[in-house]
Symmetry: C2
Subunit: 411 residues, 2 copies
């Protein structure tokens, strides 16, 4: 594979292993990142469970191990529009992969300041990228990391299609059939910003014929990939705290440090999952299979399996002996939902999904155990809440008994 690729947010949890994977495949990679995720670590008084190296150390190690050069530009795409535009003109990327958004739902719900930051940062960031591509005149394919959360969950028993819904509408007694963008139903401010992104893509695709692929990703688990294992300085970040930690990774760390597994509500939420190794493979497939000029926004459900949260907790418990505990749910969501997701797009492009297996879970447990002394147990539960009417002192509290009314109250 050859050509120039810019990875926006290339220092983050998904961006970093993606940048390495694309570099390994032969692309000339430029990372753009303002290091906001590292700064949020400082704000939250917490850090990656794995000891991540600085960007400079990371890139030096990559060069040392592989001989490949990855460039790094520190800029804020939501603010530094002209630098971004000029970079696109300079680099002439065939693809821009866009991870550069605030990506934690609980963080987006922490306070009005966090809600406003998430909206301002994510929408201006995405819009700047689109506007800069058009202004640059470079024929860029934009690959965007979205989320399964744009669909909302529990979609009327229907398998969630890949972005578009085929509907029948009555027009004066005649039935018309048409494909529409799947109606969005976000569950947090963060998820809402991704539904706004989708409308930005829709518009720029229609008006400017921009080629866009939007990846509706499930919840990522795992930490390392073939590339991040090549050198200690290449290790990927591992978030275990209540805001940025993804559910399965959090369970595995909790087990490693002897904390009960923190199930919110009944754990009846069914969610879509993907291993980080599949994330980087899916993005490589998206990069090599761009939509044609004039084609509508290409949408993939970037996910490989679905699980109920309490089933995951039971699985981790059986593997590690950890207790499972049920906490007051800070979110506003259905207590229980079914979820069936179509992911034919990537399967047709040859993805062979890594599904949950004890072997891969143990790999993560090993990482968690190795670094458990770096875990600050006080950060395991979020202090975010979705509604003002959940008392703050209920957040982080165990549900006293498995009584139905408690769950209803908690929801």
């Amino acid at each position: 594979m050859t050509g120039n690729v810019i990875v926006l947010g290339g220092d983050g949890f998904c961006g970093w292993p993606t940048a390495l994977h694309l570099s390994q495949l032969g692309y000339d990679v430029t990372i753009v990142d303002n290091l906001s995720r590292r700064k949020i670590d400082i704000e939250l008084g917490c850090k990656s469970l794995t000891p991540i190296a600085t960007v400079e150390q990371r890139l030096n190690a990559w060069k040392e191990v592989t001989g490949k050069q990855i460039d790094f530009v520190n800029l804020n795409i939501a603010e530094d529009y002209h630098q971004l535009r000029d970079l696109i003109i300079d680099v002439e990327p065939q693809t821009i992969v866009h991870f550069a958004e605030q990506r934690a739902a609980p963080y987006s719900m922490k306070s009005p300041t966090h809600k406003r930051y998430t909206v301002d940062n994510n929408i201006n960031g995405t819009h700047n990228v689109l506007c800069a591509i058009v202004e640059s005149g470079v024929d860029v394919h934009l690959v965007h990391l979205g989320t399964m959360g744009v669909y909302g969950y529990g979609t009327a028993g229907m398998a969630v299609p890949e972005g578009y819904l085929h509907i029948f509408v009555d027009v004066e007694g005649t039935t018309k059939e048409v494909d529409i963008p799947y109606p969005s139903n976000p569950g947090s401010i963060y998820h809402m910003t991704k539904t706004l992104d989708a409308l930005l893509f829709y518009y720029y695709n229609k008006n400017d014929e921009l080629r866009v692929t939007d990846l509706h990703q499930g919840i990522v688990w795992g930490t390392n990939t073939d590339e991040t294992l090549l050198h200690p300085h290449l290790v990927n970040r591992f978030d275990y705290e209540g805001d940025y930690g993804t559910v399965l990774n959090r369970f595995l760390v909790q087990a490693a440090v002897g904390h009960p597994l923190t199930v919110y509500g009944t754990g009846g939420q069914t969610r879509a999952f993907i291993n980080i190794r599949d994330t980087v493979r899916c993005i490589a497939l998206a990069v090599t299979n761009p939509p044609k000029k004039g084609e509508r926004v290409k949408i993939f459900n970037q996910t490989t399996e679905t699980h109920r949260v309490r089933d995951l907790a039971e699985l981790v418990s059986s593997l590690t002996g950890a207790d499972v505990r049920y906490y007051v749910n800070p979110r506003k969501e259905d207590l229980e939902n079914e979820l069936v997701v179509k992911n034919d797009g990537f399967l047709e492009l040859g993805l062979q999904p890594i599904t949950l297996s004890e072997g891969l879970l143990e790999e993560v447990v090993d990482v968690a155990t190795k670094y458990r002394d770096r875990c600050d147990a006080s950060k395991i539960l979020t202090d975010s809440r979705w509604r003002e009417d959940i008392p703050l002192d209920h957040i982080g509290s165990e549900i006293p008994a498995m009584l139905e009314e408690d769950f209803i109250a908690a929801d």
Copy 2:
């Protein structure tokens, strides 16, 4: 009518007559405005055809004529979040009417700077209002000025419903019926921001049970209302230039100054219209008929009739003797479209629409004629364009002959 109402953008073309009308009806009105529209006049080197007074002169005149007090707060809702929140806590409004957005499609397409300003200003402004209402704890009904443009035009021969579409979906062989938000299809960056607003409303209504009414307004024509006619300092603004001037008002000024009527493309675009007097009545109806707590976002099509642009040009021509000329269309839109719009919501609330009639057109012609010396003819055509592949020197050019291929090229 009693109670406190905040009118965001209350110094603008729709906001000002609305503020007066609500004050006249008995509401205690506070106008919030950062005077951005007056500053854009300076940027564009143009001004309202009518000589509008300063805000202070306006409010003094209103007090002098009616004895009623309207308060004014100069703040930028997209930036001054904490002042906005504190104002809501102080005023405890039962309703906030939100006009405070950049509202011209051609202006939003002028350059990357204008695109980015429109997105940043409109989305952060609307989100700040929503966030501030929730944080304030005040039970506010938000009434938002949206646009018919969120639907896109030419919607498969279907009468455009009021915000929600009833669809049939196949779920494993069974047909399910469901109401979804009408799929949006914006035609400019400006219109796109209104579709983003709609998702913000959807989310805050769902998560925080905020009561929201969204008004999908047609193209406004006319200038004065009963209240703005009460004193010369109360006169409403009248935009005639290519960016902010609305089509029918522009035709009437063009006729008054002896400029040909500027039809873009074939003039086959069918659009929805409303007179400014009906705008203020509709908003009063929306204010007095809020949705219930827990009710979904209430959406009205705030429009009273539809017309094809070339028919309007012919009507104005027959009334005034003006020539009709066809110009290269800077927009990306269908050459011809049908449009049927449902507006049952306001009719059921008692609206008796003012429709286009020679009498009312003549009222506007009188205003245009009275102030025609204030018209700068060089500002009549926009220099905005929707696509880079329309040569800049084609913008503002007459189409040489009524040849079909010219129109296709222009589109």
